[in-house]
């Protein structure tokens, strides 16, 4: 083996630039600057440059915070030798914005719900996944398998581009002592002056408008009529007349609201204290309150309307793989991670931690009470819900929301 040449030997090469041979170390200022610049460039670029064949060292996910399970993640990191780096978001549109502005290079895994994955796929923000590499998908309830659940399959090519893992509705949680069940079974209860000052809704503009849109279309009688676009009614694609009705309804509702809650913890406090008696939410707060009631921490009884009689909003949260992930080791790690996250044992933990119903059949791991609480026998009701979607015109919807806020 040839030994490395000592630096001092290289540096002592005679310098004959000015015709006078010199010995010893001679450093030109330009060379130093060039070296520093090159070094800085390499240092800055190093984290972003790696050969395609190299084993992945990091797995970056754009996800909802509530689904993070530190112990499961730690075990996965240890097993695969990768560091899991999550970035959290709240609404789909926020994640979509992040992906569109170069996020496919910043994230390997992405979460989305409703119709958003198909939009991501159309816009090439995510790529296909191979269910054969994700064996835990065999535990999916039949209604969520690709044969029945078409939202995650490209109709043209038949490829799958996402794996569902949790589902739910945007139903109404209410205090049974203050609001009778027949009233709470209608979206109209959220607009009832009889409950002025004791109602709350989320701050999400899409779901507020869409939910009001179902009620407006029902009252206008347009929900079952042929639509201008020839498709069935979708509360995320409202006509201008329906949007005008929604704006009027939301302005009226404003006077009835105590607040628009920003997070589940706030809503739970408001419901517990009795300051709020009904609010639309993802049933997570409802389950928290039921758990508290079971432990004797609260006396109030709460119930949850899964799908109001006019129709309701539903969602299926999915794991997706970003289009920035190439075939090979990185894709394998991504699919392996999804597989880890949807095993029945992990899904049971996720259900308990996040308060969500799972798309994976975990009935064998659950008590009868848990099966009822997490709607394990009610997956069929998903077909009655309108899936979360992108508004037909975000500009029009933003104007409606702003006018309501300013009114």
């Amino acid at each position: 083996m040839k030994p490395l040449q000592p630096i001092s030997a290289a540096a002592s090469t005679p310098d004959i630039q000015d015709g006078t041979p010199r010995t010893g170390i001679s450093v030109d200022r330009r060379d130093v600057l060039k070296t520093i610049a090159a070094g800085a460039l390499v240092t800055l670029a190093a984290p972003y440059v790696r050969p395609a064949s190299a084993a992945p060292s990091q797995l970056r996910a754009l996800m909802w915070e509530g689904y993070l399970l530190p112990d499961v993640i730690a075990a996965f990191e240890e097993k695969h030798g990768v560091k899991f780096a999550p970035t959290f978001f709240d609404g789909n549109s926020e994640a979509y914005n992040k992906l569109r502005v170069g996020g496919t290079k910043d994230f390997d895994l992405v979460q989305a719900d409703g119709f958003w994955p198909s939009l991501y796929y159309r816009e090439k923000l995510i790529r296909d996944v191979d269910y054969a590499k994700i064996p835990a998908t065999e535990h999916l309830f039949p209604v969520f398998k690709p044969a029945e659940f078409k939202l995650l399959t490209d109709a043209a090519t038949g490829v799958d581009f996402g794996v569902p893992f949790c589902w739910g509705s945007y139903g109404i949680t209410y205090n049974t002592a203050e609001m009778p069940a027949d009233k709470a079974n209608s979206i109209a209860c959220l607009f009832d002056p009889a409950y002025a000052g004791r109602l709350s809704t989320s701050a999400r503009f899409e779901e507020n408008i869409a939910l009001a849109g179902i009620l407006v279309a029902t009252r206008m009688g347009t929900i079952d009529k042929p639509r201008p676009n020839g498709k069935p009614f979708n509360p995320y694609d409202l006509t201008d007349e329906e949007l005008a009705g929604v704006e009027k309804l939301l302005i009226e509702q404003k006077a009835l609201l105590l607040t628009r809650y920003q997070d589940n913890a706030t809503l739970a406090q408001l419901l517990e204290s009795g300051a709020v008696i009904a609010a639309p939410e993802f049933a997570q707060v409802y389950r928290q309150l039921l758990a508290k009631k079971a432990k004797g921490e609260i006396d109030t009884t709460f119930a949850h309307t899964l799908v109001p009689r006019e129709g309701g909003l539903g969602w299926v949260d999915t794991w997706l793989v970003s289009s920035g992930v190439p075939d090979g080791a990185m894709l394998d790690v991504c699919q392996s991670f999804i597989d880890t996250m949807i095993t029945p044992e992990t899904m049971k933990k996720i259900a308990l931690a996040s308060g969500c119903s799972t798309t994976i059949d975990i009935r064998s791991l659950s008590t009868p009470e848990e099966q009822a609480l997490y709607l394990m026998d009610r997956t069929g009701e998903l077909s009655k819900m309108y899936m979360f979607d992108q508004p037909s015109s975000t500009e029009k919807w933003e104007r409606v929301w702003s006018r309501m806020q300013a009114a």
């Binding site: 709240d90 607040t259 408001l270 517990e272 204290s273 300051a275 500009e395 929301w401 300013a406």
Partner: protein
């Protein structure tokens, strides 16, 4: 030669920093404001549609007026609270002056989100104030639960330490012997304050006002967590454009309007005040 290098370095680094992180983003914001968005897509067509929407939409003018009123009220209240506090620290603080002033900065050791959420807990239906009232058999104070009053309380809480610090520093550099001189010439304590202390510390007061007013104009967190259904302010509406609604071009136009409004507000205040008489020495000898 060495001095020239030092000057170039000292001025060059901040200049490059400001150009890269302030001027360039601001210019890109101006450019974006003249484009438009369509369902989360930026369409690079030059137009003034966003400004027309802001001027004629009504809602955005309402948000701006609400914010101007809120920022004005919060800044005035902060000044009213900060002056006696700062004055008391100067007069009676003794060797603990600096410590007392630094004590006002303690809340800054936690994040703004945390402070606002803590305040939400304090003012909310289950908060300390209403819990005590209800325990005493009184009705809860509804005007502090998710209202503009709650937002104003939150903003005063957030920015009061800045105003106190600025006025304290102004008073610290003020020559108190001038008050003695005024009293020797027969001025009452009130007249000495009105004619000597106040005008000679007006510049510091204005700086405190501006440092409270400008961030209040673009406040997002306090109205979001404390403001309730009627509490949407301009900054909150602007943040919405960059968040869930994805109408970035309209948001950029709102940002440009906010920037110009802030400059006009500062200029209006500056034009009405004779800076040389306020203790400001930055203009050199007149």
């Amino acid at each position: 030669m060495r001095r020239r290098w030092a000057a170039a370095l000292l001025l060059g680094v901040p200049t490059v920093f400001l150009l890269a992180l302030f001027v360039v983003p601001l210019l890109s914001m101006v450019v974006l404001s003249f484009w438009r968005t369509e369902n989360y897509h930026i369409v690079q067509e030059w137009n003034v549609g966003n400004y027309v929407t802001l001027a004629t939409g009504g809602a955005y003018v309402t948000f701006l007026i609400r914010s101007l009123v809120m920022a004005g009220v919060v800044s005035l209240v902060s000044i009213l609270i900060a002056w006696p506090v700062s004055y008391a620290i100067i007069l009676y603080g003794g060797r603990y002056r600096l410590l007392l002033t630094l004590a006002f900065a303690v809340p800054f050791l936690t994040g703004e989100v945390l402070r606002v959420i803590a305040l939400q807990g304090l003012l909310g239906p289950l908060g300390l104030i209403n819990a005590v009232l209800m325990a005493l058999g009184s009705a809860p104070l509804r005007f502090i639960m998710y209202t503009n009053v709650a937002s104003a309380i939150g903003l005063v809480y957030l920015y009061l330490p800045i105003v106190v610090t600025v006025i304290y520093l102004s008073l610290l550099n003020f020559d108190a012997r001038l008050i003695d001189a005024a009293k020797i010439f027969g001025a009452s304590p009130l007249r000495a304050f009105v004619e000597v202390t106040w005008p000679l510390n007006l510049f510091g007061t204005l700086i405190g006002f501006a440092l409270c007013f400008i961030p209040c104009l673009s406040a997002t967190l306090a109205p979001r967590f404390l403001g309730g259904p009627n509490g949407t302010l301009y900054g909150m509406a602007m943040a919405q454009q960059f968040g869930e609604s994805g109408t970035w071009a309209l948001g950029a136009a709102m940002g440009v309007v906010l920037f110009l409004t802030s400059i006009v507000a500062v200029l209006l205040v500056g034009m009405r005040v004779n800076l040389r008489r306020t203790g400001f020495t930055g203009l050199g000898r007149g």
